[in-house]
């Protein structure tokens, strides 16, 4: 059996090897991330059936929990690491052809660090370790956002860095408080003793932790870095940031809220924050002209929806949130990836310059359409069962308030539909702008290395959309993993 620690160790190690390898022979470095992710994918797949029965607690220093740092490979962790590996692999394949300029070896190295950070975050059971992986993820994304070193990239990187640094400082303060209160950093241990401390004292670290992780999770007032960073990063990085990085942040928030604090009481607050995030995100996206910025705002909207679903704090709600995490990861990475080469070909991120792309790059445009439809939540794409589950969870309450909230959420969906349908029309049915050169019309499709991940993502979106039960089998246990505090404590610390 594969040890879950390898899920972290292999990419991390390979990430360190890449620069060395790059010194000798740069060319093969391009394939290393893909290889690492293949390993992660396979390992996660192997692990998944096992951890579904019982989470696997890995002791790293030979001490049983709560001492020392340990990993918990539960259904949620392995499931998310599977998702990370999957999206990471596809983006890595895409990057083989896409990333050609600049310090390529460093890109791949940082890319692996980013994935390591994300994987580590979802697998660790230690609060400080969570912070460390979080920082790995953040720092590598700061760097990757500025990869091209252009105006927009550096500017957004700087802003991202400022906000991220403040955020991680807040997390650290929160961890300090928690440690001061409990004297332990094992999440299970904290969770077990949570009732021994007065709520007022408990709230302060929670506020710091939520705010700190919230910066990466991009909930409403903390997400100002996101549209900048996502829109000016290289498209492959945008894909992974939107698909994975913010999900990792969300995971951290959810872990803190549900597993450590069991915070049902502030669920309504989370719900409201989710709805606000959703509305602000979708509205900001509504009249965007920059395609990647629009996609970034749309990510904010989707995050809002996920937070809304989390805020429902029911099994079905969390299941829906996880479903949305998967669906958004697939769809948004698909969108960024397919848009990547369109931008590359036209040299502009204006939506109007992408008009007529349906003719010039039919496969990419088709896949973009699939991704967009999935995000809007149209069947038979994965977005539909996801959104369906969330709304089902919200209406499960049979409470007029929740019905009204669902109405507001669906307003967001309509706005989202409005701008995505506009783009889809532009791609397929509008005449290309005057400046486009129709002479090369046939040779403009993205290269195979890009088409393979794009098509795979599209196929996945359709397949899961038609048979959502392949996913729901795993989402149920994963949701329980997140929600069922007692079981988590039991698994980690023993009876």
């Amino acid at each position: 059996m594969v040890n879950p620690i390898l899920l972290i160790a292999v990419p991390l190690g390979l990430g360190f090897i890449i620069p060395l390898l790059g010194l000798i022979w740069e060319k093969p470095t391009r394939y290393v991330p893909a290889a690492a992710m293949v390993f992660n994918l396979a390992a996660s797949l192997l692990l998944l059936p096992k951890v579904l029965q019982r989470p696997w607690v890995v002791e790293t220093a030979g001490l049983p929990p709560p001492f020392s740092i340990h990993l918990v490979a539960g259904p949620l962790g392995v499931g998310l690491s599977l998702l990370i590996a999957l999206v990471g692999l596809l983006v890595a394949i895409y990057a083989i052809g896409y990333v050609r300029e600049g310090p390529v070896a460093k890109y791949h190295s940082l890319y692996l660090f980013l994935l390591t950070g994300a994987t580590g975050m979802v697998l660790t059971a230690d609060l400080f370790n969570l912070f460390v992986f979080f920082e790995i993820l953040c720092i590598s994304s700061y760097a990757l956002v500025a990869y091209h070193g252009d105006r927009a990239g550096t500017e957004s990187s700087a802003k991202y860095l400022i906000q991220g640094a403040i955020g991680s400082s807040l997390v650290l303060i929160g961890i300090g408080f928690v440690y001061g209160l409990f004297g332990t950093l094992s999440m299970a241990d904290i969770a077990r003793n949570i009732d021994s401390v007065s709520p007022m004292k408990l709230f302060l670290p929670m506020a710091f932790l939520i705010t700190g992780f919230g910066v990466e999770a991009a909930v409403l007032p903390l997400n100002a870095w996101l549209p900048d960073a996502h829109s000016s990063a290289p498209s492959s990085i945008s894909a992974i940031l939107s698909g994975i990085a913010i999900k990792a942040g969300l995971y951290a928030v959810a872990r803190v809220l549900f597993t450590i604090y069991g915070a049902d009481t502030i669920a309504l607050l989370v719900l409201v924050i989710g709805i606000l995030t959703l509305l602000v995100g979708e509205m900001s996206a509504f009249s965007q002209n920059n395609i990647k910025r629009l996609l970034a705002y749309s990510s904010i909207g989707q995050i809002g929806l996920i937070v809304f679903a989390l805020g429902l704090a029911s099994a079905l709600g969390v299941q829906g949130a996880l479903f949305l995490v998967v669906s958004h990861a697939l769809a948004k990475s698909l969108l960024f990836l397919s848009v990547g080469y369109m931008i590359y070909r036209t040299g502009s991120m204006e939506i109007s310059s992408l008009y007529g792309m349906g003719r010039r790059m039919p496969v990419s445009a088709l896949c973009f359409t699939i991704g967009a439809f999935s995000l809007v939540g149209l069947p038979p794409f994965i977005g539909f069962p996801a959104k369906f589950t969330v709304i089902m969870a919200a209406l499960e309450r049979a409470d007029p308030l929740f019905t009204a909230l669902v109405g507001v959420v669906l307003v967001g969906t309509v706005v989202e539909g409005a701008y995505f349908f506009r783009i889809v029309q532009g791609l397929h049915f509008r005449p290309p702008p005057e400046s486009a050169t129709p002479a090369r019309a046939d040779q403009e499709e993205a290269p195979v290395s890009a088409l393979v991940p794009i098509c795979l993502l599209a196929a996945l979106i359709v397949a899961v959309g038609v048979y959502p039960s392949v996913l729901t089998h795993y989402l149920g246990p994963a949701a329980r993993d997140l929600l069922d505090k007692a079981a988590y404590i039991h698994h980690v610390l023993g009876p």
């Binding site: 400080f128 460390v132 920082e135 720092i139 700061y142 760097a143 500025a146 070193g149 252009d150 105006r151 927009a152 550096t154 500017e155 957004s156 990187s157 700087a158 802003k159 860095l161 400022i162 991220g164 640094a165 403040i166 991680s168 400082s169 650290l172 303060i173 961890i175 300090g176 408080f177 440690y179 001061g180 004297g183 950093l185 549209p227 900048d228 829109s231 000016s232 900001s284």
Partner: protein, 119 residues
């Protein structure tokens, strides 16, 4: 007065954090902002250390004094702080390198003028 004495390190570290925050919020020069971030980091690190600090405690080494148990300073925060310092340093380093790049592009470090990405 004893309160002040007991909590002086907390007050100090939060003062550092707040000063850093003030800089980040008010100053518009990117380098100053990074300095602010660094100050916050320092403050936070100080806070972490002081969480585990016991007045007049011993070093967390298995010496004979320490084996007696009570007065040993908690080693975990110190380990954490080490990590945090490393992280902080790398963030600052990255920030400074980005600042250099920004200056190349914009010819200024004034964040009020580096506002091409908005809305």
């Amino acid at each position: 007065m004893s309160f002040l004495a007991d909590y002086v390190h907390y007050i100090g570290c939060f003062a550092l954090v707040l000063i850093g925050l003030y800089i980040v919020l008010v100053k518009t020069n990117l380098v100053k902002v990074i300095i602010g971030i660094n100050l916050i980091d320092t403050g936070v690190n100080l806070f972490l250390v002081s969480v585990g600090y016991i007045r007049m405690g011993t070093a967390p080494i298995f010496s004979e004094d320490g084996a007696a148990g009570k007065q040993m300073v908690d080693p975990v925060p110190q380990a954490l702080v080490l990590t945090a310092i490393v992280i902080g340093v790398s963030v600052v380093a990255l920030g400074l390198s980005v600042a250099i790049r920004l200056y190349e592009h914009y010819g200024t470090l004034d964040l009020r003028k580096i506002r091409e990405l908005k809305w």
